[in-house]
Symmetry: C2
Subunit: 268 residues, 2 copies
């Protein structure tokens, strides 16, 4: 059973990792991350209980979370602090009343990750996704449709940022992820691991609705506006999603949902 510790002094050193959350969001936490709220905590303890470092909660929530606590490794500390103390620790009003500190998973090489997947696999490769809402939304869709992994390029933001975790409903804690360094080539990665890259392009001849994908498919998603780099586009299979009304783009998270839904249910 994990142990409960009552915290009444916001300066108590045991809750240091929970202090000044918004300021620390900006500088990072050296291998740790902060997650908030009941939905995310439930996903976290279900999918990666061994990565929960500690919890800080309002004692009012204790009873409702009993099953969550029971799923944690023995001795995981659970700090209890009344709302006023919680707010003083976090540095803002924490209306959700639930915080967790987690340990990031060890880095894995993208090539090793993709090579380890089944012969029939579906992954996402994200290029320059810098908006945490979009990042979280893409992970949520990846988890919902069973994507096997996500590869991030060097320009993507951190999926383990508090807002991205929340928007993903915790999916960033379960979808296997690797990050490329700036000198690694996406096209080489896909060639070496036998994945066909799919790139959305308004000028493609082939459309998503009739696509029959390869056994191993990597959906390449870039930012709205600049999109994917020319060398990535040049070696990818281009598919289009035709649009009406002179609209020329969808939100990138929505696009991931549409493409993953097609691959999962209509691409066989």
């Amino acid at each position: 059973m994990p142990r409960f510790h009552l915290v009444s002094d916001p300066d108590d050193p045991v809750v240091a990792p929970f202090r000044a959350i918004k300021e620390r969001d900006l500088v990072g936490r050296e291998g740790l991350f902060i997650a908030e709220g009941e939905t995310v905590l439930r996903a976290f303890t279900r999918d990666a209980p061994q990565r929960v470092v500690s919890l800080l909660i309002d004692p009012k929530r204790r009873e409702k979370l009993a099953d969550v606590f029971a799923g944690l490794p023995e001795f995981t500390p659970i700090y209890l602090a009344e709302q006023g103390v919680l707010d003083a620790i976090a540095g803002f009003h924490l209306h959700r009343g639930i915080l967790a500190v987690g340990r990031k998973p060890p880095a894995v090489a993208a090539r090793d990750l993709l090579a380890s997947l089944p012969a029939r696999a579906m992954v996402l490769v994200l290029c320059g996704i810098a908006n945490h809402d979009n990042m979280g939304g893409i992970y949520r869709n990846a988890a919902a449709f069973g994507a096997d992994a996500i590869v991030l390029d060097a320009d993507c933001c951190d999926p383990l940022y508090r807002k991205a975790i929340r928007v993903s409903v915790g999916a960033v804690l379960s979808v296997p992820t690797a990050r490329l360094s700036r000198d690694e080539s996406i096209a080489d990665l896909l060639d070496a691991t036998g994945f066909e890259g799919l790139a959305l392009s308004p000028s493609a001849d082939e459309i998503l609705a009739t696509l029959k994908p390869a056994a191993r498919t990597a959906v390449l998603l870039g930012t709205e506006g600049p999109g994917l780099s020319p060398d990535v586009m040049a070696r990818a299979r281009r598919i289009g999603i035709p649009m009406a009304n002179s609209f020329d783009s969808l939100n990138v998270a929505t696009t991931s949902g549409i493409v993953l839904h097609h691959l999962r249910f209509l691409g066989g």
Copy 2:
């Protein structure tokens, strides 16, 4: 040609509609709305130039927007104010440097709107969508996939709210919209106008991927969590989007994109 007016005093009464934007967002504008940024302004002047009341822009943007101004009705006033004056008028730093005041379209009865559509039509009916990001995202998808109209229930937020307009990339200004009063029944509306209601439900036997819709289809979308009311569900055709990993819901805007893509390209 519209006329340019230089504004150097933030208290000049001609720019009263642009004043204290965030405070007025909360109380409403009695038949007017505020839109911001170049992308939205371009959509607005393309789709509904007669509803542009006036513009307020940083003179630095004047040259780049010459084609936009040319598309406006004669005598539409265009106020020019340097960044500092702009910020003082708006009440916050307006880094986009472009604001428009628009006139809301006259209210139309939902029954009249749906009855006026072609024999083959696709509409959305939104129930309790209170988040402006989701509202904007749904409109963006509706425009991209050519939905014919959107019907809002009495609990939906205003699509002509500044943030929803921005997230929609201006689509809220072009998709025909009607709002139901609290005593109007969605099921009766659909029966009277010959639309089949489609409701997403995790327990449905039929799945979206194999759906062959009726000629006139109304996609019913509710909030995550409470979802659609029992009486709406009871009279709708239920379809499911199966999910992996014990995930039980998608974001509602993403859902709208997936369903509209299917109806447009695979539902025929």
